[in-house]
Symmetry: C2
Subunit: 419 residues, 2 copies
């Protein structure tokens, strides 16, 4: 215990020290480092794949799920995509130093609100080794030092990736200590890390609900939580049926395992008899299991009954719960009660109802006549994202470079004193 504490504090101290320098590194140095890292990742793809294979073999030995092993896997295509991500980040504008606001006061003080990095960001994540590369890329560009703590299942992949990253970064002029990788997979490290508020400015947990809940409840370092996505589509009575079918199908089926996929479909009673038979036939063709409320089951034969737990569920799978509602207010109340305030959509041709829904549904992203699947940094034009925040403080929804920054007030005077 004492040793792990010493180990993590030493890393955190190095990162803290480096953060004083990284925030001042010129854009060109950061961009060249990002491009060089991309190049060296591509050059070393054979080594990366062979290290990744060790993780895959361990995972198979431990009989981990197919989905988890799939997330763990690195192949040529995925490595190219990681490198492309870095090149993309290098192209994005550098926001550090940006003057967000200028204020001139009657006493002559000139105040500027200037964008600065957050400082040191702790990333605690599970399985997917691309998180190592994506996170460092975004943090480096936004002048933030990172302390990376990946899961034990990806330890060999993360080790080789982080080694390539920090060796390349440091030889490209990035200050030593800017990227600290924790190669100790003891879980005690996490509980030490989330209490280092003297060194770490922010913790971003990425992983399962259990990990995120543990960190939110125990961290004394501020956390940006990426919670689950229980997303809804509400098909209003004034919906265009064709749009409703296209959008509802896309939101469930196009990629069911992600947080912005729909989990519950709400349908107005006056359109349900026309809409649901066609819609559910489409879903059945795609292999979607339907769990319906009493009214849904009266319209469609032979489907399972949705329990209270279904309304709260993030299936991340080809399962959908369906509820017929009597009004837009009932739909909104359902979303507020069971949803996770991630992404929710209304399909309607009625402008007033659309506005009501967009205003009253308290979610990070609210949609009118579009699929919830667009809640994503690159789809929102941010270039890249470190995740999707489901909290309201600091950042909400997709988090890009801007959401990884803070600001300081720079005050220019000529001798002003307070009267």
């Amino acid at each position: 215990m004492i040793n792990t504490k010493k180990y993590i504090i030493e890393k955190a101290e190095r990162a803290k020290k480096a953060s004083k320098k990284l925030g001042l590194v010129p854009t060109v140095v950061k961009n060249l480092a990002l491009l060089k890292i991309a190049e060296n990742i591509l050059k070393n793809s054979d080594r990366i794949i062979s290290e990744n294979l060790k993780d895959i073999k361990n995972a198979e030995k431990q009989k981990l799920s197919f989905a988890l092993i799939d997330r763990l896997k690195l192949n040529e295509k995925r490595i190219i995509s990681m490198a492309d991500g870095l090149k993309q980040i290098a192209k994005l504008p550098d926001l550090i130093g940006e003057v967000i606001e200028k204020i001139k006061r009657p006493n002559g003080l000139k105040i500027e609100r200037i964008r600065v990095p957050l400082g040191v960001i702790g990333i605690i994540y599970e399985s997917r080794p691309n998180v190592t590369v994506d996170s460092v890329g975004l943090c480096l560009k936004s002048g933030n030092c990172t302390i990376l703590r990946g899961g034990s299942e990806a330890i060999n992949s993360n080790k080789i990736l982080s080694k390539i990253i920090y060796e390349t970064a440091y030889s490209s002029g990035i200050p030593d200590g800017s990227i600290e990788f924790i190669d100790n997979t003891n879980r005690i490290i996490i509980s030490e890390m989330i209490h280092l508020s003297d060194y770490i400015d922010c913790i971003i947990p990425r992983g399962g609900e259990g990990l995120i809940k543990y960190i939110r409840e125990n961290s004394s370092v501020p956390v940006i939580a990426h919670g689950k996505g229980v997303c809804h589509i509400y098909v209003d009575k004034y919906a265009d049926i064709e749009k409703a079918i296209k959008i509802s199908f896309n939101a469930k089926v196009q990629r069911p395992g992600v947080c912005n996929a729909m989990e519950t479909l709400l349908v107005h009673k006056e359109i349900a008899e026309k809409f649901l038979p066609i819609m559910i036939a489409e879903y059945k063709k795609a292999g979607v299991e339907i769990r319906g409320c009493e009214k849904t089951r009266r319209i469609i034969n032979g489907i399972k009954f949705a329990t209270e737990n279904d309304w709260y569920a993030e299936y991340l799978d080809l399962i959908l719960s369906v509820k017929v509602v009597s009004s837009i207010d009932e739909a909104i109340m359902h979303i507020e009660k069971y949803g996770s305030h991630h992404s929710d959509a209304i399909v309607t041709e009625n402008k007033k109802f659309a506005e009501k829904f967009l205003k009253e549904v308290d979610s990070a992203a609210v949609y009118h006549n579009a699929s919830t699947r667009f809640t994503d940094g690159s789809e929102f034009g941010m270039g890249a994202e470190i995740g999707i925040s489901t909290q309201k403080m600091h950042a909400r929804g997709p988090m890009g470079l801007r959401e990884l920054t803070s600001y300081k007030f720079v005050v220019h005077g000529n001798g002003q004193i307070k009267k």
Copy 2:
């Protein structure tokens, strides 16, 4: 224990419910409510003063410090100032609903980032009863519900103030439950409150270091911490001596008990022999106790030796530690090591050194040739403030209305689906 839990959850549930409505209340209703509350506070000033007298008598019985009793005290002048604060807030622009950013995507999606309230804000505070009025004013204007938990020492004052506030607010069209006052002074309430992340979006603690530390370390609700202010003035070798004296005097003496007052004066060795004798003579006239480093004591006879603890100290009193440094780098290193990243100033006529200081000192507010005493919402043109954040996440420095908000993404489509 079970009863206090039930008590606080009921209040939190009411606030959460009200927050769905308060965020949609029109500006005019909020402004009229603020003006009416101001009016009723003035009308009831006799009652307020007599309730406040109970707190003062209790405080005297318990032999609380003069400073604390002074903070507790309400008189006609202070009541007028609270009411003026509310009128001021009513005049500020309503930021809720503001379109912060518009993004048009190649697929035709129109995305708007729209300002929304945080939701429910828990304010945990000590002594000063004006916090009750100021906090509710700012939260109400920014569409946030408040749960107020003031200290036991001000319970009678807070009770009457909050009663006037919520009765007036509710009769002016503010939704029931928008302002919840906790009249139970059992400390267990705090530990319950900081775990209600299903109901409370943000906790703002205002009070002593102990309270803030406890909340930061234990809260599972996101916290905006208002930490201590160990502020510095660095008198550079290129300083204009007259400005340096005026600014250093003001920052220490004008109001020593506040967080933006200076606690440590750093002086370049090449100006120290000229500057310090005049400066310290001024301080002595004002009754300031000086604690100096070895070099300071070589220049000025008969002053105390500053210990390591002095460099970390937030005196909030007429005490000042003084250190002679060999370079601007030593000054910056000192500030980074011992400071609290609140407000720090350089006095110099050298532009390059000023820029270096403003860039490298990692504090919420950094000054060139001005007193640190300006770090304050109204001095920064925000109209009013709920406090000064010393953290980097969400808000840094003075927090006005804007810092009490979040945003949501509103996406307008015409049938877009993810490819």
